[in-house]
């Protein structure tokens, strides 16, 4: 069980509520080669059983991360992964190289699916050629575990996943947010400064589950499932659909202790169903 990028800050935002060592790992928020101020406010709109966000990869850049954040997060008694974003292939490569130098970061999650930034990666993530170019280039320089986060805003996510696998990805995580929009009918204005934004939360779970199921059948590398998980039951559904692990995202906002509850809940489920290894749930859906 990992916490999803962009929903868990750098972990320290949650230490009042949970013990990070209870988690399988955390994925710290989208990091880019250069600092980014992100999009203008407003960046968030609540939707039925979900929310739209348009943060736009606000972060202080990879150098700041290496210098000021890494020393702190490297002390955590949990795995720390870094989500890497960029506008060009060169940006991704340069950023990945800098993270590779950090001993205590065992993996990166390549974000080729951020819908909130012009040139924010989603352009790469919606075509097989695009994803192959980024993943291939990063693979050449990055020798630890390379996870690639996939966009759901595509006709065939299985094709995209296969392209990532062929280009050298060690695993794929899905889904990133669905591109959505919210309008204030009284003011006749969009609710986000960027007009469109990324939809997440319980509302997207059916779509995420379907895509995990499709991708797990299409690739041999591990699939990490996310999208609307807020309980152990949700997590187990993703495992059954073919995920080897899951991430918890938006639910952290609603219950800052949800991640640990999901971990405990999966243990309870396994005990109740006499399952020795959680891994035996992966793809165990009976069709």
């Amino acid at each position: 069980m990992l916490t999803a990028s962009g929903t868990f800050g750098y972990g320290r935002e949650y230490t009042d509520f949970i013990d990070l060592s209870d988690l399988g790992g955390i994925i710290v928020k989208g990091t880019t080669l250069h600092p980014r101020e992100g999009n203008a406010y407003p960046r968030m709109a609540e939707t039925p059983s979900g929310m739209l966000n348009a943060v736009g990869l606000q972060n202080k850049g990879v150098d700041y991360f290496v210098e000021h954040i890494y020393p702190e997060v490297s002390q955590y008694d949990t795995r720390v992964l870094v989500n890497v974003s960029g506008s060009t292939v060169d940006d991704y490569v340069a950023c990945a190289e800098k993270i590779q130098a950090l001993d205590k970061i065992p993996a990166i999650e390549l974000n080729v699916s951020c819908p909130n930034v012009k040139q924010g990666g989603m352009a790469f993530g919606v075509s097989c050629e695009g994803i192959a170019s980024v993943v291939g280039a990063v693979r050449k320089v990055y020798h630890k575990h390379l996870m690639v986060k996939l966009s759901p805003n595509v006709t065939s996510i299985a094709d995209i996943a296969m392209a990532a696998e062929a280009a050298g990805a060690d695993s794929v995580s899905l889904i990133n947010t669905l591109l959505g929009m919210s309008i204030d009918a009284e003011k006749r204005r969009p609710r986000l400064s960027t007009v469109t934004g990324g939809l997440s939360g319980a509302c997207v779970k059916p779509v995420a589950l379907r895509m995990v199921w499709q991708v797990a059948k299409a690739v041999k590398i591990p699939v990490i499932g996310l999208g609307g998980i807020s309980s152990a039951t949700d997590a187990i559904e993703f495992l059954l659909a073919g995920a080897s692990a899951v991430q918890i995202g938006t639910a952290n906002f609603i219950d800052p202790a949800v991640s640990v509850k999901v971990v405990r809940g999966i243990e309870d489920y396994c005990e109740r169903h006499h399952i020795e290894a959680v891994s035996s749930l992966t793809g165990a859906l009976e069709i």
Binding site: E13, V55, Q58
Partner: protein, 259 residues
Amino acid sequence: MTKRIIDLRLVEKREWPQAVLLKLRSDVEPLPEAAPGQFVQVRVDQSPATYLRRPISIHFIDRERRELWLLVRKVGAGTRAMADWPLQTRVNVVFPLGHPYTLPKASKKERCLLVGGGIGLAPLLYLGKMLHEQGHHPMFLLGGRSADDLIQLNEFEQYGELCLTTEDGSAGIKGLVTAHPVLQGPSPDRIYCCGPKPMMVAVARYARQKGLWCEVSLENTMACGIGACLCCVEDTVEGHRCVCQEGPVFNINQLKWQI
């Protein structure tokens, strides 16, 4: 101050046309330490339209009775669901959250003007109490559209003098808070403000012109309330800052408002 997720119980409720007062009690443990200007994130499970928690400022804390008071404007699905809660409802809250108002040093007694507009008067009660307890001289300048908005006045009166305005003249001086003659009198040492943005901008402009110290409390739309989602940012002199974590209280000199 450690943030906590805690279950409280609704023990008392008072309702006005626009707002509701909810008194929430902790049955088991003492309430966490909290300061005026901080807020809580309230879970509202009772409506399909409220996926996220609702950020509500701390109206008052009665430490002896272990009570947290929330003064809530009935404005959307979430707050209306809160107003419909029957007594004894179990209410899950995360608190204390955010950066509080800056209190003067206890050694020097200061004159403090607490300016609230509409439901923005909510955080000023606990602030007024703390100022009063420390020997300062809080004065409340409270404004609303009509007398319906000027609520909890008997509570405010315990801690300082009241100056009232209403847009329709149904109570106090007719007009906006900035029309109140108290602003033409001797300048306060500090101004604390909370209310709709145009009103806060007007108060900030007054403070800037007079060279007065002034803090305002923002209520940007937020998701997490703990600085993780970066949705509630305000453009400050130091760049985008989270209202939930580095605010909700900002000194007006930190903001890039046109004042």
